[in-house]
């Protein structure tokens, strides 16, 4: 087993940095988009519901790799040539990977939030209304905080999945951790070492996410004060 040079190790760390940024950017976009999907889906308009159902169905049934490639290779064809060249000059692979990953996750995140909301009985809403809460106040103080508690465990798994799925971005040339790993392995043939280090780096990422998730879950547990007594 051969050790990596400091420079090669440094390269892996850069890859890890890109992985983390790609994850963070797509997660924030996915969450924002999911909230929009939930609201749109909740409207009475049949067209809106069809749109959301179609959106969810596409992202559930088409492989993520195809979605990413479709965005990177397919979408630019619809753009004017100068915009396309500008994009390719400005880290287009990162942007398209982030968009594809965000869209792919948002469909699932929306479903997680929606089932959390559905689990809150309407009587909670009535109790809030009876105290003089407006619709938005009832949602903000009573319904959404309870729904998020319920959605938290599936959302944490969703975040873990997205973190791992960032590696798919290597297929369109984003220099994230898996891409760098393959690159160094090709140059040095230190296969075991380099994949070993990559594995550890991914594990550090996922364990951090999991720890953050349980911290959040503990913080919002309903019995925390009673248990402290």
């Amino acid at each position: 087993m051969d050790l990596l040079t400091a420079d090669q190790f440094q390269q892996l760390l850069w890859g890890m940095r890109t992985t983390i940024i790609l994850f963070a950017v797509s997660w924030v976009m996915a969450f924002a988009l999911a909230l929009v999907l939930v609201v749109v889906r909740a409207t009475e308009y049949r067209l809106c519901r069809w749109f959301v159902d179609g959106f969810v169905a596409y992202h559930r049934n088409v492989p993520l790799l195809v979605q990413v490639m479709f965005w990177y290779f397919g979408m630019p064809e619809l753009l004017p040539e100068n915009v396309r060249f500008w994009l390719y000059d400005h880290n287009a692979e990162f942007s398209f990977a982030a968009i594809a990953l965000a869209l792919g996750s948002s469909a699932y995140v929306a479903e997680d939030i929606r089932s959390g909301l559905r689990a809150i009985p309407n009587t909670q809403f009535e109790a809030a209304s009876s105290l003089g809460c407006s619709y938005l106040q009832s949602m903000r103080y009573i319904v959404v905080p309870q729904a998020l508690r319920i959605s938290l465990p599936p959302l944490v798994s969703r975040a873990l999945l997205l973190f791992k799925n960032t590696s798919i971005a290597m297929a369109i040339g984003v220099a994230e951790l898996t891409y760098r790993t393959r690159e160094i392995e090709n140059m040095t043939f230190k296969t075991f070492t380099v994949f070993g280090i990559a594995t550890v780096l991914y594990l550090i990422g996922t364990f951090t996410l999991m720890a953050f998730g349980s911290w959040l879950e503990n913080r919002t547990r309903l019995d925390r004060k009673a248990a402290a007594k």
Binding site: E126, S129, S130, L131, I142, Q146, L222, K225
Partner: protein
């Protein structure tokens, strides 16, 4: 109906009808509830009792007639319902406490978040209310750790926190184990003795006899009888009332 009665009434129904789709759940209801009265509403299941009190704070819309609450037309389009609801407490059959908030936060929630009262003031008052319903030591507990009777007492404290001039109760003891009914009725009786205006949907006839000023008996969306407890229990010869009382005795 003359004007003086109208003025003294804190809640008044004026020829109110309500439909759920095709089904007429309330039929030409006219009742006046003066300040300080304890009105017990009873009647067979499905007769429209819940519907009746839910129209008072606008949880259910009405299609005909008017309901005046403390001088305001509840169902008028220009009425700010959220504002108006702060003037009427509502206690649910299944308590409906907020499970993600401590007992104290349940009680201070509306004063602090909705009425924007100072926190210290709201907490002091909430502690007084919890003390009054006998739950001062449970302030930091979460609702899920309380018995049904305790939860209902917290729910009453939560309703009182807005200092409403009138409180509505929708079968507050019928979801409780028998041994917990007493503690909730005790709190309600003490409220009644302090002059609170109360509309109670309940089948607790002991409570009705003891603190009720008036009993409203409903059947199939109509008010069949509206009389004093004495009249209701001893002199009423209405066949529906007789059958209702017989059913209740059999259950008890």
């Amino acid at each position: 109906m003359n004007a003086t009665v109208r003025d003294a009434a804190i809640v008044s129904f004026d020829n109110v009808s309500k439909w759920y789709g095709e089904y007429r759940a309330l039929e030409n209801i006219s009742i006046d509830i003066p300040k300080g009265q304890v009105v017990v509403v009873c009647g067979p299941s499905g007769s429209g009792k819940s519907t009746l009190i839910r129209t008072v704070n606008g949880l259910e819309p009405i299609q005909e007639g008017r309901i005046i609450l403390d001088g305001t037309d509840v169902h008028a389009r220009k009425t700010d319902l959220n504002q108006l609801r702060q003037k009427v407490g509502f206690v649910f059959q299944h308590f409906n406490l907020f499970p993600h908030m401590s007992v104290l936060d349940n009680v201070t929630f509306a004063p602090i978040k909705i009425q924007k009262k100072p926190k210290d003031e709201a907490r002091d008052f909430a502690r007084k209310l919890l003390d009054r319903v006998g739950l001062a030591e449970k302030a930091d507990t979460f609702p899920g750790f309380l018995s049904g009777g305790q939860q209902q007492r917290v729910a009453i404290a939560r309703a009182l926190a807005l200092r409403p001039p009138v409180i509505l109760f929708d079968e507050p003891t019928s979801a409780l184990d028998p041994e917990m009914v007493g503690e909730v009725l005790l709190v309600m009786k003490s409220l009644a003795s302090e002059g609170m205006t109360m509309v109670c949907v309940t089948h607790e006839m002991g409570f009705a006899r003891e603190v009720g000023d008036r009993i409203v008996f409903m059947d199939q969306g109509k008010v069949i009888l509206d009389d004093t407890p004495d009249q209701f229990f001893s002199k009423s010869d209405h066949p529906r009332v007789q059958r209702f009382l017989a059913d209740i005795r059999r259950e008890a």
